[in-house]
């Protein structure tokens, strides 16, 4: 009797487990199409792109013997004699195969002017005879500088963090010592700092503008609330380019606001409000403000009005009731909005590109420059890698602390 009951129980458990597994499998199958889709169209491409920041086989492919010879050198003192011989024969082959340009372009990222040095040396490398070092120096005196071979050596490793070093405004000497770039060439660290600053400023502005508005809407009468909310949602739904256009029309030197200023104070009152940092800040705040208002508003709705009344009746002054009771209860909403605004602001590209002028550019714009104009894809990937890891870290914080199920659109 007891035995039979035990069998039934374990049987039941097994069935339960089996059906549970089947249910889990079905849940997973439902998610799978999108997961696979994103893996192929989104995650894989980004991963592939980021790999370019730590993987560059150009020199190892185009100048293979030189790369081998230099890898065993410690970068101190003179490069090994074998490296000169290897480079002479590599250059000869690369010149014949027409691949020298790739190596030359690659090395020019590291040492300005090395492109023409390699190209002109490659043209005559077929006639080089030992002693090779002298032959090289005869073509171009810069070959006597060990730093040239140092740069070649660093580039000869297929996998390296060289692009990340450049992305932090630093460079490597032949012996591996990392030094800062000259001050007039430093730009990336400053742009990262500026990006953080802009994101923080925009978040702060969104909070200062958004919190009172959310409060106002949350405490308006039912009839008004919906209309007010629609006024917030309208810009939210409107194309980013439309909103940016609107700000250009308003802020440019001959725009609406300056026209009004000129009417009152004369033409001298016209000020530059766009194509600089101000333009970026104003337009970005406008665009991101709804992301702050909406979560703040929905949390405010859930705060029971009785709580503040209770505080008041217990003798608290109104501002005390607000700061000590109401405000802390709405912080999760405002915090969620602020974090989201900050995360989105870090990656902004379009608005700074259109209204940022010279001083309102962010790190995304620099990534675009290296992608599209300078073609230094390794550096673009390194800058992107740094930006992405920052954003992802904050995203994880958001997911852990606030929870992704609190993301609401309107």
């Amino acid at each position: 009797m007891a035995g039979a009951a035990a069998i039934t129980a374990s049987d039941l458990r097994a069935r339960f487990v089996r059906s549970g597994m089947r249910a889990r499998r079905i849940s997973f199958l439902l998610v799978l199409p999108l997961l696979l889709f994103l893996a192929v169209t989104f995650i894989l491409p980004i991963g592939d792109m980021l790999m370019r920041s730590v993987e560059d086989p150009t020199i190892a492919q185009v100048l293979p013997r030189t790369a081998d010879a230099l890898r065993s050198w410690d970068g101190k003192g003179r490069p090994p004699y074998s490296a000169y011989a290897a480079l002479a024969s590599d250059l000869e082959v690369a010149q014949r195969d027409g691949t020298i340009g790739r190596a030359a372009t690659r090395m020019n990222f590291e040492v300005p002017g090395m492109r023409s040095m390699l190209m002109s040396t490659a043209r005559v490398a077929g006639k080089f005879e030992p002693p090779y070092a002298q032959a090289f120096n005869a073509v171009d005196a810069r070959w006597a500088d060990p730093e040239i071979f140092g740069a070649l050596r660093h580039a000869s490793f297929t996998n390296s963090i060289g692009y990340y070093i450049s992305a932090l405004d630093r460079s490597r000497k032949a012996d591996g010592q990392i030094i800062m770039q000259p001050e007039e060439d430093q730009v990336y660290m400053m742009l990262f700092a500026r990006t953080l600053f802009v994101a923080a400023m925009v978040t702060a502005l969104c909070f200062v503008l958004g919190y009172p508005l959310a409060y106002f809407i949350a405490h308006a009468s039912d009839k008004w609330r919906n209309y007010l909310l629609i006024l917030v949602l309208l810009p939210f739904w409107t194309s980013l380019l439309v909103r940016t256009t609107a700000w250009i029309v308003l802020l440019q030197t001959n725009g609406v606001i300056n026209d009004v200023l000129a009417i009152f104070f004369g033409d001298g009152a016209r000020t530059q409000m766009i194509y600089n940092m101000t333009g970026t800040l104003v337009a970005m705040t406008h665009i991101l403000l709804p992301f702050m208002i909406l979560p703040t508003y929905s949390v405010m709705l859930s705060v029971p009005p009785a709580l503040r009344r209770a505080a008041l009746s217990l003798g608290a002054r109104p501002w005390q009731a607000f700061w000590r009771v109401y405000f802390p209860m709405t912080l999760p909403g405002a915090g969620a909005g602020a974090l989201l605004v900050f995360i989105l602001a870090l990656g902004y590209y379009i608005t700074p590109a259109l209204v940022g002028g010279r001083t309102g550019q962010l790190i995304s714009n620099m990534i675009e420059f290296h992608m599209k104009t300078s073609l230094n894809w390794g550096l673009a990937a390194a800058l992107g890698g740094i930006l992405l890891s920052g954003v992802m870290a904050l995203y994880i914080v958001y997911a852990r602390v606030i929870g992704l199920n609190r993301l609401r659109l309107g």
Partner: protein, 282 residues
């Protein structure tokens, strides 16, 4: 008594101040959009109000910039491209996103948080990084400079909206209704068609409209992946803004504002029907 009165006054002042401030912020939000509407009817190629416009002289206004859009094959092609791409991307992302949300809403979903985080990540990954990655990858498989490439890119960017809206809808979904339906003898298909679908449809449509709006507004992946045959409305606006803002851009902007207002009102209507009164706070 005096204290109560003072408290009352303070509250009124605070209220008035708050109202004034809030209205100023609302003005900041909406005024830029309103300003460009009359300017798009400017008879002169300027971006400021002419004297004729301010005196409401009919000569100051014209439809010439709207006519420009209709007569310019580039704009017409852009509108066509935008519609094709947005509709296809919306369909794809709605199907994929809805399926995923149905899975995520099941109580026995393994690794729910992680998967949710992955599915929503296209919303937060800086667009320049996503576009750069797609640029290399799609070029290597021959999808760059095709409509399909951009549709896939926009589908990717649109799915988080569907997932978010659908998950929110499903979280308020009462499973007992399904049980009730089947206990009343409905077969699973009937239950789905008559009970589940009508309940989740508003969320699905909202998500789809969000995905549509996202695709309709997307320019960065088009800049990277699109060739001249894939010019969309935002792409056309982008080069217009960078090169020379002709008032035609304002006319297009006004049309886009109308489109987005319609989308917004539809979503709000759906939300109101979907959410019973008072349940809005959640």
């Amino acid at each position: 008594m005096a204290a109560a009165k003072r408290r009352f006054e303070w509250a009124t002042i605070e209220k008035r101040f708050n109202a004034a401030y809030a209205i100023a912020v609302l003005f900041f939000l909406v005024a830029p959009l309103i300003v460009i509407i009359p300017l798009s009817f400017n008879a002169e190629p300027y971006f400021s109000f002419t004297t004729k416009m301010l005196t409401l002289n009919p000569e100051g206004f014209s439809l010439r910039w709207y006519q420009d859009i209709v007569e310019n094959p580039q704009w017409l092609q852009a509108i066509g491209n935008s519609l094709i791409i947005a509709i296809c991307a919306t369909a794809l992302s709605t199907v994929l996103g809805t399926l995923a949300a149905l899975g995520l809403a099941r109580s026995n979903m393994p690794f729910r948080d992680l998967i949710m985080a992955i599915l929503i990540s296209p919303l937060v990954v800086p667009i320049i990084i996503a576009a750069a990655g797609m640029y290399f990858f799609y070029s290597s498989i021959g999808l760059a400079q095709t409509h399909l490439g951009i549709i896939l890119a926009h589908t990717t960017l649109g799915t988080p909206f569907v997932v978010i809206t659908m998950t929110a809808t499903l979280s308020g979904f009462d499973r007992n209704l399904i049980k009730a339906a089947s206990s009343l003898g409905a077969d699973p298909l009937t239950t789905f068609m008559r009970v589940t679908l009508p309940l989740v449809a508003p969320g699905m449509i909202s998500g789809a409209l969000f995905a549509f709006a996202a695709s309709f507004d997307e320019v960065v992946t088009v800049l990277f992946l699109g060739g001249p045959d894939q010019r969309t409305i935002p792409r056309q606006m982008w080069s217009g803004i960078r090169e020379q803002i002709s008032p035609t851009i304002l006319a297009v902007a006004v049309l886009l504002i109308i489109v987005s207002s319609l989308l917004l009102l539809t979503v709000e209507k759906l939300r109101r029907r979907h959410t019973p009164q008072g349940a809005k706070a959640s």
